[in-house]
Symmetry: C2
Subunit: 444 residues, 2 copies
Amino acid sequence: MQTILIIGAGKSTTFLIDYLRKSATEKKRYIILADVSKDIAEKKLRGQENTLAAEINLKDPQSRRSLIEKSELVISMLPAFLHPIVAQDCLELGKHFFTASYESDELRKMKEAIDSKGLLFLNECGLDPGIDHMSAKQIIDREKAAGNEIISFKSYTGGVLAPESEDNPWKYKFTWNPRNVVLAGQGVSRYIENGEFKYIPYHMLFRRLEKISFQEVGDFDAYANRDSLVYRKIYEMDNIPTLLRGTLRRSGFCQSWDVFVQLGLTDDTFEMDLPNGFTKREFLNTFLPFHKEKSVESKLQQILPWLDMSIMEKIKWLGLFEKDALPKTKGSPASILQTILEDKWKLDPMDKDMIVMQHQFEVKTQKGIKKITSSLVCKGEDQEHTAMAKTVGLPLAIAVDMFLEGKIKAKGLMLPVIPSIYEPILSSLEKKGIIFQESEELIS
Amino acid sequence: MQTILIIGAGKSTTFLIDYLRKSATEKKRYIILADVSKDIAEKKLRGQENTLAAEINLKDPQSRRSLIEKSELVISMLPAFLHPIVAQDCLELGKHFFTASYESDELRKMKEAIDSKGLLFLNECGLDPGIDHMSAKQIIDREKAAGNEIISFKSYTGGVLAPESEDNPWKYKFTWNPRNVVLAGQGVSRYIENGEFKYIPYHMLFRRLEKISFQEVGDFDAYANRDSLVYRKIYEMDNIPTLLRGTLRRSGFCQSWDVFVQLGLTDDTFEMDLPNGFTKREFLNTFLPFHKEKSVESKLQQILPWLDMSIMEKIKWLGLFEKDALPKTKGSPASILQTILEDKWKLDPMDKDMIVMQHQFEVKTQKGIKKITSSLVCKGEDQEHTAMAKTVGLPLAIAVDMFLEGKIKAKGLMLPVIPSIYEPILSSLEKKGIIFQESEELIS
């Protein structure tokens, strides 16, 4: 009997848990799902045979370690900053460790110890990071093996609404952590294009857009996503002249979101302490110049002269011109904006989200330069069974399953960028309907 | 014999040291000037009787305390982050402590101990903070005493070039710490206008300008300076509906400086590691989008469409379109920009700097609302005897002199905002030519 410990039973764990619990009896496994709330864990397990819901107090080493000791392998679905604590326990107790989060510096410091104990610590095995790595690296390795040279790689991912649920002017709702959406892009974004290093400050990010199209679901805007340069090393393409990773939003979203960025409403660096009863309109007005006569609307158009009717309509739809009270008056501008948005961008029960991902390669071959486009569109089923939860949870669940079955033999501190890891996972994902459509054309 | 210890003999200390050393013998005082470089200290003292140059190792408590023990009073002209260390020594050894820097939280924590030992710790007694406090508070207290109510207070200060030295297209050179100039305004700026709280993010700051005029020296642009709201407490005007502090630059400067802000060249949050030989033109290009054919100049105008010939001329004058190598290739964008600017914005030996300060009050009186304008223009003599060094150093020197003579009797942790401190200092400053011109007009 192999025991799997899953820590964290949050929103994005539905598919992960379902995948592992449903095969538990057949595969002679025992699943422990630990959460700060035992109730939530119990609900997610649905009374399945060979499973146990447990309460965990993450601050108490004894509480963590008594659960970890019982298992072969731990999956951490906790917020990223908590991973190192659990990873350290796993290292000391000799347990394998899996996450869908970015490999952190703390984890990297454990690398030698992980190696010497013969453990597998697999990170970045969700969607982004995760499926992006695997699907891109599969093409990169294939083209290299064919003797071709990749001279450009651009990769775009977005967690958006399925077109049938785009029923507000923004064509957007929160399908993922709202705080991360509000703060997205802060700091400088870096990439390289035709050998030129490029840096985009946050306040320029939502203006430097590219249009990315999907045959099935139409056009999106892409903005550069954080530090693309680190992927040159991860993908073993140190000298590639063009490498850019971007985030996708439905066309028109970024230009309107930029209004908040320009005004300072997404600032998370200072706390406001506004009077009770302060209205949404007054909140917006604090970021506009004073004028004796002019309305908030006309000051907004004056300070951001490119605002058109469609942008004004989106701002208006969020209620920011209304004189009703703010849902929250203390906190950073970003956190106050978030509470306003959470109310408006809430998923309805039958809303479907959608994951869109597109890789674009330019590859030098003996016949000339070809462009490869590889696209994934994955729609959610409903508010709970989201495409986000599916694409984050399934790769991780499959990785764990295959590792326990001996089909993945890798050890050490790993990302899913080697064929022996990504090949079996990608082919299992295809069976679950997570399929990339690839096309090629010679461009010169 | 009273002993004064001055720690730090940097650029801005010339007037301070001269004022105190010249009267040392007559006033039966002994001046110790301590610096990390004894040579520099010696040069500043010019062999004056009753003075001593000393070397100080700030990291060594013994080195600091052996000098502090010998003196009645310590003036710290060190970078602001070092003040708390010296202040703590002074507190323990029972010595008075003077600076021209902002009162810090660390100092505030010492408040009770300072009071109970009967010491004077006087901060913010330079130019800005310093002369701004004193000259404003003199008018505030006078108007309040006359039964009037101040309904608006705006105060602007700038360290600029005297008109006769404005011999480059920017009409600007570094007359003060270049790093502070490059980073000026970062973070959010806050103020209140007609009862409305206002917040300006950094990337909007150099566009939200006011025009401020001086009869003698013409027009300047003002941008909001950090957190104006804290001054409501300092000046005892908790409920004033309008309070704004601003920074002055010669008209046209801010609009051109905004180019660097918009592109991200003033970013100090990440390090670049550019290849040796990287040119200024390439540096500028890293902040612009890639384009196969377009020049750096045309991409710049495309991304910032409001750029006119006069702005382009200023960028060009700095050499940013040139293909010569950067003076420095490693460091934050701000620090690389700084090295480019330091070369171009260097003061010539006979260049004169200038301090401009203007307070604007709106005061409700029995006769109606009057506007009071109080302006200071102070020109430097040459590259060494700058107006900046004069206006920072003299108030502090005068405060120390008057305190030792018993003309200032205040004790505790103080700012120069009470009449018993600011009155004698302001009248001594007038004798040194630092004179505000005041005018009044009824506006409604």
